[in-house]
């Protein structure tokens, strides 16, 4: 009897392998690359202003004055246009947005803000993408919530839609 049972072991192992592979094939793929810095302090950086008349952004600024919503965007990025109304809505709620403009030019940025709204308190120019990589961000747009001590608490990957607003606001309130 014991001998008979052992013949079923290979089939059992095979079924386990097949179900693992099958599950992996049919599960919706999550291609988002999350930052490894969530729960850690914002790395040091100091970005110059991306356009005249608006301050740039530094890690020192993020470590003071309560929580911050940091939006990594670019005028050449199409999904950034999609999320612009949501950023405006956040700003109207009294949540200031600090921007990091990736590989952008002042004139393009000005045209983008004129066309799609301007919720930004400050915009740093990340011309060589160094700060984006420093933050562990893999694309535009991405949004980070940084708490009052300069610790990264939340990362949103991709355009912010209506449905994502609650999560951002909750993360911002929790970061107070």
């Amino acid at each position: 009897m014991k001998r008979r049972l052992i013949f079923w072991v290979p089939l059992a192992v095979f079924s386990v392998v097949i179900s693992v592979v099958g599950f992996g094939l049919y599960a919706p793929s999550d291609r988002a690359v999350r930052s490894g810095l969530i729960g850690q302090a914002v790395p040091d950086f100091d970005l110059p202003p991306a356009m005249p008349g608006r301050p740039g952004l530094s890690s020192a600024a993020l470590r003071q004055g309560g929580p911050h919503v940091v939006n990594i965007f670019a005028s050449w990025c199409l999904p950034c246009r999609v999320e612009a109304p949501q950023l405006d809505a956040l700003a109207r709620r009294g949540i200031p947005i600090d921007g990091i403009a990736v590989r952008d030019r002042p004139q393009d940025l000005a045209a983008f803000l004129a066309a799609y709204g301007d919720p930004f308190r400050s915009i740093g120019a990340d011309t060589d993408r160094r700060v984006q990589m420093e933050l562990g961000s893999a694309g535009v747009p991405e949004t980070f919530v940084v708490d009052g001590n300069g610790v990264i608490r939340h990362q949103h990957i991709g355009a912010i839609t209506e449905g994502d607003m609650a999560a951002i606001v909750t993360a911002y309130e929790a970061a107070r």
């Binding site: 490894g36 011309t127 060589d128 993408r129 694309g139």
Partner: protein, 136 residues
Amino acid sequence: MRAALFGLALLAAAPALADSLLPAARYADVQLADPNQERQAKALMETVRCLVCQGQSIADSDAEMAGDMRSLIRERIEAGQTPDQIRAWLISRYGDWVTYEPTFGPATWALWAAPFLLILAGLWLARGRFKRRGRG
């Protein structure tokens, strides 16, 4: 006429693949002057995953972000960092997923240990076989 209009429409269409208007980063497509440093940088690039294309290394990818990452690696090698330091920095930002050469850690030890465990299991199975044959 219709073909001409179609051609015009194609010309006028904005490319869906968005890249910025700025020129490529300094060392995106420029080799380092020191061949030894360039060799180290190239070897590292071939084992770092492009984050926006997926399934390609940054050495193979034409994506703008891959160019920025190549430039970052070359600049850090030039500044005297070792490939291992740069890989560790990338992993701290983007997770194990960014490297094609998995490191040994809590999540990956099974990957490294599996071949040896399987060989041991095979030897153990074969041992039983040899014993039986010897007796018969």
